[in-house]
Amino acid sequence: MPFLSTIVASLFSLVFAILGAKTTTPSPILRLVIRFGASILRNIPVVAWAMILLFSFKQSDFTGFLALFFMTLGYLTRAFTETIEDLDAEKLQALQAVGANYFQCVFCGVLPEAASTLTSWILYMIENNLRDATLVGLLTGTGVGFLFDHYFKSFHYDAAGLIVLLIAILVICLELTSNQIRRAIA
């Protein structure tokens, strides 16, 4: 669930970030709308998202997915926007000077230049969401959070402890792998 929601959210974020970054936005008004929207999504805590979405989607995996999705969407849109704005605008001008149009500039210039930083952000977000998934699961009664809750409340502290331990190990492993990936693409 944390993987899927991060990947789907990062695809949407990328589109929004390109439309919303100062250097690549087609219109300043759109830029304002995207920044504002992302800010709202980001600043509602994931716990609140989970509880709000519970009303609409009941206790299901989809609720957990959406809660993580919205928070990630807001966060990554902001991070991606800033990554794109930090790129050297002159490099994009050079492509314009060649006669490239908007889409060609984005695909041949912005994406390759930003790719390694964007990947870094996605990896970071997956780590983060894996941890948050426990909390969201607790609230929405799904996934690993539900298991933890179940064992905890039925006094099976040994099993509950094992779950916490497993999550910690999983997060650490993920962190190590993503460090490797980052080094490989840098």
Binding site: L95, V98, Q104, C108
Partner: protein, 255 residues
């Protein structure tokens, strides 16, 4: 032939960056624009391919006015004007070959350009151009692993890939060591002669301008103060070009 007539550009209110700039540049010749910092050299160069929009005047390249072109026409015109920069401005995680192929973007359909679908002939030509600038062995290297001089030569190959009528060079050697400077300037001079290109170069180094160019345009505070063959430039002319500008005008031009 490039003919610039009565070009004017104002930044903000009353701050003249360019004032009635007139000059011509011939194919087969290397033309240098020299002058103090902030005099408007970059503004002139970037007005020619409309990366900077000027306020009024005419820029005629083979009798087509670049200023009157609509966006689609401008793309076509830009496709035939190469440009190289002080900071090279290559897409650094891509290979030298991919960067050279970017020179074809202006001639390709949107989709083919976006996804980098180049024909075998185009790839072959890009490799030949890299060979021409002496970088055959570096075709598959990432550009951020190349030295400054090598990156600038990739930039030249990218410009050549556009089948240009003209190449604009914005301080092409300002970040290069003397050896790379010589290599780059030699290539530019050879190209002008062999391919009958119009080559325009912004330069800070007067000695390089004297050694490598045929024609010199001297600019001070947004006005052309000298235009003529390089052989006619003497100390008196240089003093006139580099005379201390009105301090206020300099700040205005740097904004």
């Amino acid at each position: 032939m490039l003919k610039v007539i009565q070009l004017d550009k104002t930044y903000g209110s009353n701050k003249h960056s360019l004032q009635s700039v007139n000059f011509t540049a011939q194919p087969g010749e290397v033309t240098a624009i020299i002058g103090p910092s902030g005099a408007g050299k970059t503004t002139i160069l970037r007005s020619i391919n409309q990366l900077i929009r000027d306020d009024s005047g005419q820029i005629l390249l083979d009798d087509t006015d670049i200023r009157q072109a609509n966006p689609a026409e401008l793309r076509k015109i830009r496709h035939h004007i190469g440009m190289i920069f002080q900071n090279y401005n290559l897409i650094s995680p891509l290979t030298a070959l991919e960067n050279v192929l970017h020179g074809r973007l202006g001639a390709k359909s949107t989709l083919a350009g976006m996804f980098g679908l180049y024909s075998n002939e185009e790839k072959q030509e890009a490799l030949e151009l890299l060979d021409e600038v002496g970088l055959k062995d570096y075709a598959y290297q990432r550009c951020d692993q190349l030295s400054g001089g090598q990156q600038q030569r990739v930039g030249i190959a990218r410009a050549l890939m556009q089948h240009p009528k003209m190449i604009l060079c914005d301080e092409p050697i300002a970040s290069l060591d003397p050896k790379s400077t010589k290599i780059v300037m030699d290539i530019l001079r050879r190209l002008a002669k062999e391919k009958q290109l119009i080559i325009m170069i912004n330069l800070h180094q007067v000695d390089i301008a004297m050694d490598y160019t045929d024609h010199i345009i001297g600019i001070n505070s947004g006005m052309i103060v000298f235009e003529g063959a390089t052989s006619t430039v003497d100390d008196q002319v240089l003093q006139q070009i580099y005379r201390q500008a009105d301090p206020q005008a300099v700040t205005a031009n740097e904004n």
